[in-house]
């Protein structure tokens, strides 16, 4: 009814606001008319015209005064109402500083947290990359449908680049990893090899010097570098004469020709340099190795959709021309931003936003309750206003305005808190986050402030709805009566709703936090059985001069035998990619005698090269057949060891030892491989939900250019690092040991992000818990206060203190129980939403639920008990006397 009321009078109010002159004139007319009529009446009664008029005026009373009063009633339109309410509200807030400070601070913390997390989510989801023309940039990639492998092959890139018209330019890039040499200790660096048009495509040019020329894309002419600003500052102290200086990478000299501007981060991650992409003729012709990434700039008249269409046509042509090479892959053209934002990251960001929203809801419930209590104290003021003509809705609007005013104050302070929170985030976020977004974008910007405004308004309305709503129901008579002793039922009801709501929300939050913590710890301690603390791991990337397999194999064999002589080393092994090291190498398997419908249906497994001692070092067991040994070498029959899962998958129910198969991707006439052993499964990625099919080849037969090493040590692993380094230096002093760390650290680094999220959730969960405790305490204390008379009566009738306590506690407990029950049901529903983010435990993990519920119950009961105890100390005489 209230909204109809307002709607109805809007034209009237608008008129009073905007056409004041007209309205005033009408008022004049109206009153003049009345006086005219009165005059006529008196003339009819025999007065003279002059006397009649005078009499009529006298009878009217003060005409001007009346007009003023009319204008006053009109002046009561909503804008002026609002201003009046705001001023009144401010005055009231000033009068009760305690309440104001507590409420504003609470709201500020809640709103600030929401804004800070919003800014983070905004960067992760909407602005992970900051490039000037981001909307016009597209990522072009081939996707292998079977293995999900993504990238673009060099030959396809060249063809697509020359043929497409929808793009004004297409550039390619590739991550490279080199050693910075020429110092005492080589240092591993990450860089990017790019085509010459790369910087023009993405729209950022070097701040110092120049970018690359097309002719520098040739091997031999590619010894030029553009440095990152960070590298320049670190290694050249930011000196302007860096141009022309030499940098040694992998033992080869490169000339610095440019430096990128600060805060440039594309591709995402910390890169030290950009160099021209120079490929050997063989590499250039490859149409099957998806080694490159491509980014293109839309031509001014093109849009994404027509670009997609054009590329589809081009791809169909290419597939017809090269059916074997391009088989099983599709072309994908998407906006560059979409390539970076993974579902996974988006979900985590949204989860965090949900968490802080819950915290704010709980805070609003507390403040709503506080305001409700205050409203009761102002009942008399309200009654007088109402008796003087203010409608209930006006008074309710006033309460709402006060609440929004409170929220607004909280919001302003909250923005300050948010800025502070964002800077804390920036300094504490684990480095993995830089792989998914550019943290330079993380700040409280105008979008965040708009968000804050919205949240503030919502919070104010939420917190103010209870006292406002209650107001529309209250009975004036009751409030005017002395003391207003009777409990207004509506208020108690609302309070209970708040209590139940808070407990439920807190439970959901804490369950979420508990699940995240369990998830993290189950992953972090995943490999305890292999004693990761005594495993030293590191990585080597062999420079180009080891591209001959014999040279590589010899190097590895010699290195391995040398480090095995280091005292303290129990065993040493190498493998293409250790578990939890982001390694992947999908290959397709062809088993003779089995028919497949198409080449895309071949089973895909992961290929690794390994040394004989590798399995022993990481405590993997040989289940069937044998492990690798020195027999397996270049020239001897090609052998393979497969994981249990792969055996089960490809030769179910049989013993695979002795079976043969082929790897499709091997360039030369793919030799048949013989299975000589089956090894136990090992989890490869920390987020894998099942074991992968892994295929191991002896490193002597397929030595790769990049290997992980793992050593089991009797002493603390890192202490042996210098010994390992000196052995390496003895063989080749220009190779750097990368990422030396214990296996524990390796695993921990994969779980860094998850750990951070779990900590954040625990932090907010703790805040929610504190707020809920305060809320429960307040509600029970109020309840005890209100029931003083009842308690007094009971005690006067002989009830012991304990009995009274029990009565109070029983009603509070039942409320809490309801809250917990609702919370559990909500949790069961909501945790299913985030099930994909939880690892190692189910979304309905009993331990987490049980622990959290018990914690909350105990804490809530304590929060009830303490104010309830006060009920025991009620003096019946005082209570009964106190009306």
């Amino acid at each position: 009814m209230r909204s109809k009321h307002w709607w109805y009078t809007i034209p009237l109010r608008l008129r009073s606001l905007f056409r004041q002159d007209r309205v005033n004139q009408e008022l004049d007319e109206e009153i003049q008319d009345h006086i005219e009529q009165k005059t006529q009446e008196l003339i009819g009664k025999g007065f003279s015209p002059h006397e009649a008029r005078r009499s009529a005026l006298v009878e009217f009373g003060g005409v001007e005064q009346s007009k003023e009063e009319c204008r006053d009633t009109r002046k009561v339109n909503w804008i002026q109402n609002l201003v009046k309410d705001l001023r009144h509200g401010l005055r009231l807030l000033r009068k009760s500083p305690g309440f104001t400070v507590v409420a504003v601070l609470t709201l500020a913390l809640g709103i600030g947290a929401n804004t800070a997390i919003f800014s983070l989510a905004d960067v992760i989801i909407r602005r992970p990359i900051s490039l000037p023309q981001l909307d016009r940039l597209v990522a072009v990639s081939e996707v292998a449908t079977a293995s999900d492998d993504t990238g673009i092959s060099a030959a396809n890139f060249r063809d697509l680049e020359s043929e497409c018209h929808a793009l004004s330019a297409l550039a390619a890039y590739q991550n490279v990893s080199v050693s910075l040499t020429g110092q005492t200790e080589p240092e591993k660096l990450n860089g990017v090899a790019i085509t010459a048009n790369f910087f023009s495509v993405i729209g950022v040019q070097p701040g110092l010097g120049r970018s690359f020329l097309p002719e520098e894309e040739e091997a031999g002419k590619d010894r030029v570098l553009v440095l990152s600003e960070a590298f320049w500052r670190q290694h050249f102290s930011g000196r302007p004469d860096v141009l022309g200086q030499t940098v040694f990478l992998d033992g080869e000299d490169y000339k610095v020709v440019g430096v990128m501007p600060p805060k440039f981060a594309f591709p995402l991650g910390r890169h030290a340099f950009w160099k021209p992409l120079a490929m050997s003729p063989a590499e250039r012709e490859s149409r099957t190795n998806l080694t490159l990434s491509a980014v293109g700039l839309l031509a001014p008249e093109s849009e994404l959709n027509q670009t997609r269409v054009e590329f589809e046509t081009l791809w169909t042509h290419l597939s017809q021309q090269f059916p074997q090479a391009n088989a099983g892959r599709i072309l994908r053209v998407i906006n560059l931003r979409d390539q970076v934002v993974l579902d996974y990251n988006r979900q985590f960001a949204l989860l965090l936003m949900g968490v802080v929203a819950f915290v704010l809801l709980i805070a609003c419930a507390n403040i709503g309750n506080l305001q409700l209590a205050r409203a009761t104290g102002r009942a008399r003021e309200v009654a007088v206003r109402s008796a003087m003509g203010a409608s209930r809705y006006r008074i309710a609007a006033q309460f709402l305005t006060e609440s929004v005013l409170l929220a607004f104050l909280g919001g302003v302070l909250g923005i300050l808190f948010a800025v502070w929170g964002v800077s804390i985030l920036r300094s504490t976020l684990p480095p993995q986050v830089e792989e998914i977004c550019d943290l330079n974008n993380l700040r409280v910007n105008s979008t965040a402030i708009l968000f804050t405004l919205g949240v503030t308004l919502a919070a104010g309305i939420l917190a103010g709805i209870a006292p406002a709503w209650h107001q529309t129901k209250s009975d004036i008579q009751n409030s005017l009566r002395e003391g207003g002793g009777r409990v207004l039922g509506g208020r108690k009801h609302m309070r209970n709703v708040f209590l139940v709501g808070e407990v439920a929300l807190a439970l959901v939050l804490l369950v979420g936090a508990g699940l995240m913590i369990r998830s993290f710890s189950s992953l972090a301690y995943a490999e305890r059985s292999i004693a990761p603390d005594s495993l030293l791991t590191f990585h080597l990337d062999l420079p180009n001069r080891y591209s001959d397999p014999i040279k590589a194999k010899t190097f590895y064999a010699e290195f391995l035998s040398r480090i095995q002589t280091i005292p303290g080393v129990q065993s040493a092994g190498l493998v293409s990619g250790l578990p939890y090291s982001y390694y992947d190498e999908p290959v397709s398997i062809k088993i003779p005698g089995r028919t497949q419908s198409s080449s895309t249906d071949l089973p895909v497994v992961m290929q690794e090269a390994a040394s004989p001692d590798y399995f022993r070092t990481v405590q993997m067991k040989i289940r069937e057949g044998r492990g690798f040994d020195i027999r397996d070498d270049l020239g001897t029959p090609s052998v393979a060891i497969i994981s249990e899962t792969m055996a089960q998958r490809l030769w179910p129910g049989e013993n695979p030892v002795g079976k043969t198969f082929q790897i499709v991707e091997t360039p030369s006439s793919s030799p048949s491989l013989v299975v000589v052993g089956v090894v136990s499964d090992t989890r490869h990625e920390i987020f894998d939900r099942s074991f992968r099919s892994i295929l191991y080849l002896p490193f002597q037969q397929t030595p790769g250019q990049s290997m992980d090493f793992v050593l089991r040590t009797t002493e603390p692993p890192l202490q042996l690092l210098s010994a390992v380094r000196s052995e390496l230096r003895w063989i080749d002093s220009n190779i750097a040991i990368e990422n030396p760390r214990t296996m524990t650290k390796l695993i921990a680094e994969q779980t860094n992000g998850l750990q951070y999220v779990a900590s954040l959730m625990a932090f907010f969960g703790g805040i929610a818990l504190i707020l809920t405790i305060i809320g429960i305490y307040g509600v029970v204390a109020q309840s005890v206060n209100e029931r003083k008379r009842e308690i007094g009566i009971r005690m006067a009738l002989g009830a012991q203190g304990q009995k009274v306590l029990a009565i109070i506690l029983r009603s509070s407990f039942s409320l809490i129980a309801i809250g917990l029950a609702i919370g559990v049901v909500l949790s069961l529903a909501l945790t299913q939403l985030i099930a994909s983010l939880i690892y190692g435990v189910s979304a309905w993990d009993l331990t987490a639920f049980a622990l959290v519920t018990s914690l909350l119950t105990v804490v809530a009961l304590l929060a009830c008990y303490i104010p309830a105890r006060r009920s025991m100390r009620v003096d019946p005489v005082v209570a009964l006397r106190d009306e």
């Binding site: 009814m1 009078t9 007319e29 008319d33 009561v76 409608s391």
Partner: protein
């Protein structure tokens, strides 16, 4: 002529709403009608009539229209709205309750 100063603002509203509920009138006619029906007991001073009317209009309980009156001039006629009718019902109920309570007390005989 006694000024009905004891009339609380709320009661005046009730009277005005009731009168306008019977037929639309302009300000002068309302004050005439009130005097007439109550036998001159209830009289509203013209000075407080118009503010009360305007306030009722602002609340949406009565609406106003300018009509041509007898002597060829415009007059502002007020009439009851649907919202106003509801308000009238409520006020009437409240009034009846209050007045019967007072009557009961007044009727008490001496013990």
């Amino acid at each position: 002529m006694s000024k009905p100063s004891d009339l609380v603002q709320g009661t005046l509203d009730l009277l005005l709403l009731k009168i306008l509920g019977l037929e639309p009138l302009n300000g002068f006619a309302i004050s005439q009608r009130l005097k007439q029906v109550s036998g001159d007991v209830l009289q509203v001073s013209d000075g407080s009539l118009y503010p009360a009317l305007h306030k009722l209009e602002q609340e949406g309980w009565i609406s106003a229209k300018w009509k041509a009156s007898e002597n060829n001039r415009r007059a502002k006629y007020y009439s009851l709205t649907r919202l106003g009718k509801k308000r009238l019902e409520k006020e009437t109920t409240d009034w009846n309750r209050l007045s019967s309570a007072i009557s009961r007390v007044v009727k008490l005989k001496e013990a």
